[in-house]
């Protein structure tokens, strides 16, 4: 590992930062400092204000109140460029790389140390030098769009460092990585810190934080609730600071469902071939099945065909080849899927799942508006529909029972409860749920998970597509690993080997033991 910092390290102090969005105060004024030569983890739930605080530090957001001090000097950032000039760079979860450019070209965007005329040879040499200087291997002439997520992240980190960042902020860097890639990243970060860099690591994963950090700060609801040396914290104490009402929900054992109680095949996906929106092959003859009283968890690194599969099963995308059937009836479109009793909880709950600008009651009947229960011909029976919605709201324990409330005014957790409730009620035989707890606080996540388990116990076939491996292991009876549009492994939920799953997700073929 080469030396990261040219001179000494740089410290970052944030004093009394306040950032509001409308009525919401995302960060509400506290002091925190980050020392050079350390990996400093910023821990907290979704919505705790970690990313907002760091976006302020990196010039993406302007604070309403508060001071930023870098290496003893007070600074004011008008743009990310100002921040990077002061030595602060941030790597977001969504990379800002140009997919169509090569690695070398990406590293050259906005660079001033290259000639006015460029040659790919010059850019490649420069990129290789940068990679060597910071000890992160990359292939300069590769097009970024063809790289794995881990490689892209390395390019993003290199770009930030090559612009002179001495304080490197990473926002949930492992969320998109396979376990192996995460491990490698953590090693790299440790090495950078030892070389004098200031590393700030935003995460909500306790184990990861404990393994990589020198110092841990915990945020909750926009305030700093704890800031400790690594040696002085443990899993339980951190979890307690992270969640106000810890213990009610966190790691609840899944309700037992022995393999023998699994019923007959309900959802059958056979030989699906499909392309993505850009015409590239996304699914390569994928087959899987889900039985009654079974949760099948589909895991994979994002972009390996999950989205296409999800949409095909839900009937909103046509495969090039292959069939989807429920109880033996082929599903070709949304109406078929509805008739066959398929529930669909899409990832984009506010875009695909619900209509935010409409009230709860209209959203409740969105998928049953043709049924006699709520309509007669072309006319919606408003009173009946509202009654139906009120029952649903009560069933899923919604925060409000006023069904004329617009869905956009519901919190993420309540919106998801409504969506899950709608998709699981009625005469259902199967459900597809995609990242159903993403972005929810712990309590809401637990409620949604409980609903899925309940649905399973009620006899539904549940296909759970999730990026959260822990969640999949927690809930699934069977785990299927997806890689580049094919199923590459299948595990019993109880006996899942996480390391093996991680390797398969990363594209390694299954161990061939003699």
């Amino acid at each position: 590992m080469a030396v990261v910092t040219d001179g000494g390290g740089v410290s970052l102090e944030l004093t009394g930062i306040v950032k509001r969005f409308g009525d919401l105060t995302a960060v509400s004024g506290f002091d925190i400092s980050f020392a050079p030569g350390q990996v400093h983890a910023l821990l907290g739930e979704n919505g705790a204000g970690k990313s907002t605080l760091m976006n302020v530090a990196a010039g993406f957001l302007t604070p309403d109140v508060g001071e930023i001090v870098v290496g003893g000097q007070q600074v004011l950032f008008g743009s990310p460029k100002d921040a990077i000039d002061a030595g602060i760079g941030m790597v977001h979860q969504h990379f800002s790389l140009v997919e169509q450019f090569t690695v070398a070209q990406n590293l050259a965007i906005g660079a001033r140390d290259i000639g006015k005329l460029i040659s790919s040879k010059e850019l490649n040499t420069r990129a290789a030098d940068i990679g060597e200087k910071y000890g992160l291997g990359v292939n300069p002439s590769k097009v970024v769009g063809s790289l794995s997520v881990g490689e892209k992240q390395r390019v993003e980190i290199l770009r930030t460092l090559s612009r002179g960042a001495k304080v490197l902020i990473l926002d949930e860097p492992t969320a998109v990585l396979t376990p192996e890639e995460s491990e490698q990243l953590c090693l790299n970060l440790r090495a950078m810190a030892e070389a004098g860099a200031t590393i700030i690591f935003i995460s909500h994963k306790l184990n990861e934080v404990l393994s990589v950090a020198d110092h841990v700060s915990v945020m909750r609801g926009g305030v700093l609730v704890d800031s400790l040396e690594r040696s002085r914290c443990d899993l339980e104490s951190l979890a307690k600071s992270m969640f106000e009402d810890f213990g009610t929900s966190a790691e609840k054992p899944r309700s037992s469902s022995s393999a023998s109680s699994v019923g007959e095949e309900v959802l059958a996906v056979r030989g699906i071939r499909a392309r993505d929106d850009r015409g590239a092959v996304a699914l390569k003859g994928l087959s899987l099945n889900v039985h009654a009283r079974e949760i099948v968890g589909l895991v994979g690194v994002a972009g390996n065909g999950q989205q296409e599969l999800e949409q095909i099963v839900a009937g909103i995308r046509k495969p090039d080849d292959g069939t989807v059937s429920i109880h033996g009836t082929q599903v070709d479109n949304v109406q078929d899927a509805l008739k066959a009793g398929l529930g669909y909880i899409p990832e984009d709950r506010r875009g695909t799942g619900l209509v935010p600008a409409q009230p709860i009651w209209l959203n409740s009947i969105l998928r049953i508006y043709k049924k006699d229960l709520v309509s007669k011909g072309l006319i919606i029976k408003t009173r009946k529909a509202k009654e139906y919605a009120r029952d649903l709201a009560e069933l899923v324990n919604l925060s409000t029972n006023d069904v004329t409330t617009l869905v956009q005014h519901l919190s993420g957790g309540n919106a998801q409860k409504l969506l899950a409730g709608r998709e699981l009620s009625g005469d259902k035989s199967a459900v597809v749920a995609v990242n159903p707890t993403q972005g929810l606080d712990v309590k809401a996540a637990a409620a949604v998970r409980e609903r899925l388990l309940q649905a399973r116990d009620d006899g539904l076939a549940v296909l759970l597509i999730s990026a959260d491996l822990d969640e999949v292991v927690l809930l699934s009876d069977r785990i299927v690993v997806l890689y580049e549009g094919s199923v590459v492994g299948e595990f019993e939920g109880q006996h899942a080997d996480l390391d093996e799953i991680g390797r398969l997700m990363g594209g390694e073929s299954r161990d061939e033991r003699p």
């Binding site: 976006n55 990310p80 140009v98 660079a111 000639g115 005329l117 590239a280």
Partner: protein, 309 residues
């Protein structure tokens, strides 16, 4: 058809393509930084009238082209301020501006209708080359503007793919956030290239009134701005394909005259729609071939306003 006639036909096609070629190259630069100036037709009209009036007033076609360019540039900057800086919808604003241009130029230009241009752009025969058999007639008896226009796509290609600035331009068009974090002014450069595109479209417009039809009439551009706009798509955002596209459409426009002279017995109206039908046909062909190749070549942020973060 004898050789001389074919050579003259080619010469005419190339001449007719000049305005489209200039405007399309400008539009390519605009789109490469992620903006489409759909008001291109309006920008050309403004340039066409301003250039014509300047030509009539000063008797100089050079001043006429410059005035056309400046007017087009100014008009495009209006588009840029509304869409790039205020981040409004490019289509709505673009269409509105076309209608503004159409109405305004018709009113202001009323007294210039059916007046012959006094500052026509003369042909410049290139010594020696223009005396070559066939090629001389077909290629080397054009105006200076036509020769320069032929070079424009090459200049654009050089800037885009061989210079540091071009790399930054393409970064803006592909992923403005990546450019922004690198300290490149996304809004600034987008506005700049909207202005450059307007300048070129304005010159193209002036070329129509001073070098092609030699007069002013309402809606004199007759869709050439739209064709230039379509050619950028047809070319798949590749500068050198702009050249191919422009000449292809030039050839379609000249077919009508050829048909009449040759007595093909097809009504000339049928030929006047050819460039437009051709545009649709080519776009469909392109969409189809892209689908097969599975490649998308347009700048990824094309048409999307830029918000930081």
């Amino acid at each position: 058809m004898d050789y001389q006639f074919l050579a003259l036909t080619i010469a005419t096609a190339i001449g007719l393509s000049t305005a489209i070629l200039i405007a399309a190259t400008g539009e390519l630069l605009v789109e490469k930084v992620g903006v489409y100036n759909i008001a291109l037709e309006g920008v050309m009209l403004v340039g066409a009238l301003t250039g014509f009036i300047m030509g009539q007033t000063t008797g100089s076609w050079v001043l006429g082209l410059i005035a056309g360019g400046v007017a087009g540039c100014a008009f495009a900057i209006v588009f840029g301020l509304i869409t790039v800086v205020l981040r409004t919808d490019m289509i709505v604003v673009g269409v509105a501006l076309i209608l503004v241009a159409l109405g305004t130029t018709q009113t202001i230009g009323a007294s210039y209708v059916s007046v012959e241009a006094i500052a026509k752009i003369p042909n410049a025969e290139i010594p020696i080359l223009s005396t070559l058999p066939f090629i001389g007639t077909a290629l080397f008896q054009q105006t200076w503007v036509t020769y320069i226009a032929m070079g424009l796509p090459f200049v654009a290609a050089f800037i885009l793919f061989r210079t540091r600035h071009g790399l930054n331009m393409r970064a803006i068009g592909e992923n403005p956030n990546a450019a922004d974090t690198a300290g490149i002014s996304v809004v600034g450069w987008r506005l700049f290239y909207v202005a450059v595109g307007g300048l070129l479209a304005g010159v193209g417009g002036a070329y129509i009134t001073l070098g092609i039809v030699d007069s002013w009439a309402g809606n004199v551009t007759a869709g050439q701005g739209w064709i230039a706009f379509a050619i950028v798509f047809f070319a798949g955002w590749q500068p050198l394909w702009i050249l191919v596209g422009a000449y292809f459409f030039g050839a379609l426009s000249v077919l009508g005259d050829v048909g009449q002279i040759m007595g093909w017995g097809v009504p000339s109206e049928a030929f006047t729609v050819l460039p437009y039908v051709g545009t649709v046909a080519v776009m469909m062909l392109r969409a189809w071939s892209q689908k097969r190749k599975g490649a998308v070549s347009w700048p990824a942020s094309l048409g999307l306003p830029f918000y930081r973060g």
